[in-house]
């Protein structure tokens, strides 16, 4: 094709997006590292360079390890459930049955509702004299401090994240299931395979890339949880439900210790970048081919 555009046209088209990305992504990206070597805690307007001090403080802080541990529990509980259960639902919805659209709408509903409303709704379910404690009392269990007992608070919050994510991943799986050849299922039916073997031998191997994709996206979003914790527990009790992003927020905007919070942000950045690299290079490569 002949070149119909001037020398500067490509740059003019990219310029507006580039300005936004430079100001709100690239400069902040590098500045995060710079901030992590500064001390803001004495005078927020005149930070001074302190070298590795924030990192030393961070690695000597027991809360840091608690927060890191909580975040990994979040990953280990939420990610497997979000990778497997929505697939199971997608397979069920993909059978020739009535009412598929209604099921999809109802199960997708938590995805579009504001996370703040979702967290408030669960806080109400979890209330001390709430409906969940009534439910457990009917089977003879004493009231549980869902959000007030350090043993349970983190898991109670994780349930909200899982509940809000199921519909989203189910739709991703449904799209992937369309690509599985129907003849393979028919062959299984002739062999008399049951539901489980049929899907373990045909469906799962066929949509492995999607399973892997869902695993990494749900891992990345589990690393970034904030609103659930902010609305329901504020990280408590006793830091038991505090995760990385909430801790960054707390140190930066409540303690005004931007340097320490930035060191924490660098840790988050590194972990998320590793997940994203895996995601881009293994699963979404074709989407980003130059």
């Amino acid at each position: 094709m002949f070149k119909y555009y001037g020398k500067y046209a490509p740059y003019l088209f990219i310029l507006p997006a580039a300005i936004v990305l430079v100001i709100f992504f690239f400069i902040p990206f590098f500045q995060t590292f710079v901030l992590s070597f500064m001390d803001y805690s004495k005078d927020i307007y005149n930070p001074n360079f302190v070298g590795w001090q924030n990192y030393i403080q961070l690695f000597h802080n027991p809360i840091f390890y608690k927060v890191l541990w909580n975040t990994f529990i979040y990953l280990f509980v939420a990610v497997p459930i979000l990778a497997i259960f929505p697939l199971f639902l997608a397979i069920l919805i993909n059978q020739k049955i009535r009412g598929v659209t209604l099921y999809k709408i109802l199960i997708y509903l938590p995805v579009i509702v504001s996370i703040v409303v979702a967290a408030i709704a669960f806080k109400w379910l979890y209330a001390e004299q709430g409906i969940l404690n009534y439910a457990v009392s009917t089977i003879g269990i004493n009231p549980i401090g869902w959000l007030t007992d350090p043993k349970y608070a983190l898991y109670s919050v994780i349930i909200v994240t899982i509940w809000k994510g199921i519909g989203y991943y189910m739709i991703i799986y449904l799209a992937a299931l369309m690509s599985v050849p129907k003849e393979l299922y028919e062959a299984c039916d002739i062999d008399g395979a049951n539901f489980l073997t049929k899907h373990l031998t045909v469906t799962v191997p066929h949509i492995m890339p999607t399973i892997a994709l869902v695993t990494t996206i749900s891992a990345i979003s589990a690393m970034k949880v904030f609103a659930e914790i902010y609305v329901m527990t504020k990280g408590g009790p006793l830091n038991s439900s505090k995760t990385i992003v909430y801790y960054i927020y707390e140190r930066a905007f409540e303690n005004l210790d931007l340097g320490f919070a930035s060191a924490m942000a660098v840790v988050l950045l590194i972990i998320v970048m590793i997940f994203s690299l895996i995601n881009i290079f293994c699963f979404e490569r074709n989407k980003y081919q130059i």
């Binding site: 507006p16 990206f29 049955i97 509903l109 504001s114 709704a121 998320v272």
Partner: protein
């Protein structure tokens, strides 16, 4: 017979999961409709209110400026959508169709932003926003711009538009150029009308993401008059401390707009065609 049993099992599982998906909202609605003479902590819990009333809705509507929150959310989400459409389409076009120096670098720089979570860079973003005076303490307009700009464009949008442009046959442009169009006319009059479906997808998913955004507005906003719906709803907890009837009514009220949006656009969300349209 075996087939019937199988279908029955599938339906019962799906009905159970559907109920679990909406139950937290049902219980919230139930609580919001209970009057003062009914104990909302009663055991066993009552789903159908015995003292049925809309008073909680009226009460919370009088005390909380929902229209204000709604308008603020519309301004922020609308502005974010508009900028994303314009900036993504503009940036996606040369990446799909033109050869220029630095194309590879630009491509990978944009790709790299996918790996940078906003939560990790939000502190410098906040400092920059302050420095640019884009906060509500300056004036409301500056406040809105500050809420919008960090999300004005995304790598996801740029790549989505690039893909859309790649799928258009080159003959379309060639014909237009022969007819005497310049590059801007080709872009605006020939290409943009042809990528409308992708623009619609980008608009809808950007809107949902922006509408639900909570972290950034709760960092930058200082004035209640500037609150968006999620920030306003979170604030209900403080305003009505333990008046769960009001908190429930307010939460439900705030959900109505996005519910209408979802139900009218549901095919975009649940058809699965837009898989990969990643949430915020």
């Amino acid at each position: 017979m075996k087939k019937l049993l199988e279908k029955l099992t599938i339906h019962s599982i799906l009905i159970a999961v559907s109920l679990l998906s909406i139950f937290p909202f049902i219980w919230l609605i139930s609580t919001s409709l209970k009057g003062n003479s009914e104990n909302i902590f009663a055991y066993p819990p009552q789903i159908i209110p015995t003292d049925f009333t809309f008073d909680n809705y009226i009460g919370v509507w009088d005390k909380v400026n929902f229209i204000g929150y709604f308008v603020n959310s519309m301004i922020v989400a609308g502005g974010t959508v508009l900028l994303n459409l314009i900036l993504s389409a503009m940036a996606g076009y040369p990446l799909a169709r033109m050869e220029f120096k630095g194309k590879k670098v630009t491509f990978f720089a944009i790709l790299a932003t996918i790996m940078i979570p906003f939560q990790a860079i939000m502190l410098p973003v906040y400092l920059i926003t302050l420095k640019l005076h884009l906060v509500d303490t300056v004036n409301n307009l500056a406040g809105f711009i500050g809420l919008i700009m960090p999300f004005a464009v995304s790598a996801f949008g740029i790549f989505l538009m690039r893909q859309a442009f790649l799928s258009i046959p080159r003959e379309m442009e060639e014909a237009a150029i022969v007819d005497g169009c310049n590059v801007f006319q080709v872009f605006w009059k020939v290409l943009i009308p042809m990528v409308k479906p992708s623009l619609a997808v980008l608009a809808i998913f950007t809107f949902i993401g922006s509408w639900g955004e909570f972290l950034w507005p709760s960092i930058v906003l200082t004035k209640e008059a500037m609150y968006t719906l999620p920030v306003g709803v979170n604030n209900l907890q403080g305003m009505f401390s333990s008046n769960w009837r009001f908190i429930a009514a307010g939460s439900i009220l705030s959900t109505i707009p996005i519910l209408i949006f979802f139900l009218s656009m549901q095919r975009y969300f649940i058809s699965g065609e837009n898989e990969g349209a990643v949430k915020g």
